[in-house]
Amino acid sequence: MLHTEELDRVGIDGWLESYQRKELLRILTCGSVDDGKSTLIGRLLHDSAGVFEDQLKALKKDTTRYGTTGEEIDFALLMDGLQAEREQGITIDVAYRYFSTPRRKFIVADTPGHEQYTRNMATGASTADLSIILIDARKGVLAQTRRHAFICSLLGIKHVVIAVNKMDLVEYSQATFEQIRRDCAEFLARVSIPDVHFIPMSARRGENVVGRSTTMPWYQGAPLLDYLETVHIAGDRNSIDLRLPVQLVLRPNLDFRGFAGTLASGVLRRGDEIVALPSGRHAFVKQVFVSGAEREEAGPGMAVTITLDREIDISRGDLIARPNNAPPLEHAVEAMVVWMSEDALAAGRSYLIKQSTLMAPVAVTDLRYRMSVNTLKSEEAAQLSLNEIGRIRLECAKPLSADPYARNRHTGAFILIDRMSNATVGAGMILDRTPAEQAIDRERRSRDAGTNLTPHSGTVSPEQRAARIGQRPFTLWLTGLPRSGKSSLAHALEHALFERGVQSVVLDGESLRKGLSSDLGFSARDRVEHVRRAGELAKLLNDHGQVVIAAFVSPTAEQRERARASVGAERFLEVFCDAPLATCESRDTTGFYARARKGEIPNVTGVDTPYEPPRAPTLRLDTAATSIEANIARLLELLSARMLLR
């Protein structure tokens, strides 16, 4: 009853005064029920008066019903939240608990420790300042101990307490404790946790949890709660690099244009010069509001709104930094990712990324390796399954600010979202790359995109070529399920254009796969590459005055966006050939769908990989019920309205 003691000492006014200065510490507990983890948290809550009498009464009732401790109150039952879990006797999610002492308020994230719950632990670790890793003194260091330390290190937790529990069952042996400490040194050397602390304890008996133990006089250190109350965390925040991800633009009236967001790191003062990314425009800070009130300055973690001295274009997803300290903007980043979905991650897949306030489509271009969480060794892998961790390379059409996670826990983190189910499927941490890796990537990028190459300043420009041929080049991109009628439409359109004196080229799977893409198979990755080549080819043809009719399944918005970017948005028309899967299957005379259904052909859109219909195509054609002639008429109408016919 620490609050009561404090009240008696300083009175309510003294208490309220000191409460205003109290800090928050977020804790993660790692371990399994067998290690006494829930008992430890229950003990912390109970001994620091975080459990109320009516909750205790319910707990006593639950103990007789579900408990495993006989007559003693089973503190573990305080922690298990949902009914099903209570009955199964396991915690299968992340539960949050709260308690406070006169010095600090604590948030405890309790997650299960088994390997199949790695994602839950990563979730709890993402916001934790400190973690408590439990070891059963009888069992010593286990594979799970290494796994827990690795996940804590990966998620950037700087303070770890190794709680050697159940000391009462090893006769409070100092030798056992010291042996465990030595065993930990081996794997602690391979992770990056700056501050590690060992405490011998018995959670069930409350020894070295809140009160000091009298049974282990050889231990000179503080009990757990003392350490939690005093560990220094203020230095963990990054107050050097100004990063303000813009969450919202507030325009309550014509005279006020405020940029609202939470300062991920750094300090922002009135009068400071800032740069907005990705635009690179500069401005000076006119006003700083912290939680709604105007201030001189703001620091890390504060919810702010700022106004600037001039009108520059800034919107949600942009980042405000300093001109001389801004993160690199990259279209490709390397990252560690914890996979959280039943649908595996593999190179070639595309997702939505949410990084700070930015949301954008990304493609996973490489899976470099998988990390074994038990041996801490990397191994080759074709995919990442649920609860697995690996290193990937991501490509994004929009530039990402690439602060490494090790330097910035807020801007260096991201989640991946499945575009069909909207589920959060992965948690990522951007890696700091060595200069050599950056050089390789720069080279690759210039090879890939070609945008960094200076084109030969040929004497004939695309405009001149187009004028000579006498037609306006464009790319009409037909997308839709296999057998939705794209190629038939493409050839019919070529014919119709030819009759009107417009020369065009049809690009489709058939024409490309025989030559240009003959080295490619049908893996997810090869399919992405195939479509990329089609986009690049369309661009070259357009540059040379040719009209292109491209017919590709191109199942993801990401792929189509890349094609649009290659060709140039002003010459790109996206046409959605919309026919239900059943119609496409029934039209199929080649047995293509049937073989896919049997599992003989993998990665078939509509069968085992999803098709993302375009949200806003230039034109949507019903290719199931409408005749080719009628659809051609509509396409000609579109082209004529865009002044693309002679």
Binding site: H3, K22, G81, L82, A234, G292, T424
Partner: protein, 302 residues
Amino acid sequence: MTTFQLTHLEELEAEAIAIIREVVAQFEKPVMLFSIGKDSIAMLRLAEKAFAPGKLPFPLLHVNTTFKFKEMISFRDEFVRSRGHQLIEWINQDGVKAGITPFNAGTQRYTHVMKTEALKQALSHYGFDAAFGGARRDEEKSRAKERVFSFRDRFHQWDPKNQRPELWSLYNGQVAKGESIRVFPLSNWTELDVWLYIYREQIPVIPLYFAKRRPVLDRNGTWIMRDDERMPLEPGEQPQMRSVRFRTLGCYPLTGAVESQATNLREVLEEMLRSRTSERQGRVIDYDEAGSMEQKKKEGYF
């Protein structure tokens, strides 16, 4: 050199403001539940700060069960008027027509019709795709695992086994048409935090939270205030005048009072610090069965 270490209240405040802003950025039509209680009042203050110097970019919604304390309704109207917010009141007219009261229908059915169903009606009627609620994880066991962005299917139902992982402060608000989320900006607050915040911000709260002599009945060891004549008396039963206050507010026949002498916020805080029972003790609704809240949440309750 200024230090920028936030106090725990400042950190909770910043977190809540960020959550509220994130919803406005990601959703088309949010609404904030306003139940007139202390949590609602604190949440509303946070929302005001999130959009200052502008106004709230969403309306407030009060689901009125028609058995709220009279004082709550008058306080609500005055409070909302003085702050210039837009308020929508929703009453389940089907329940009113059917004459459902806590006395004739039993608490479970009454709550289901007049609170859960009413809320779903209101959300569907206006097409709100995100609804802020003042619930906290420390209130009840099943809430301890609730997400900040709590996903609901198009029937407003919650599936505890199918929740999205929530990492860092990266909230995934992607929903399909017809689906929605409930948002809990006060997830990490405790009852004590809410009161300390109200104290720090000097926000006016409804006087039912302060002790006063009120007419109460002893029902199974719980003090129930008879706020109007609709509550039938048992044979020979007489309301007694006791100095009581409320730790939570809801429908008066379902809300227990505690005996208290605390007549202002300072005294309430001291009493609470010395108290050994949780606030939900005064709620008849949780008592029924272990897991009863979880069951209600699955059905669409907040």
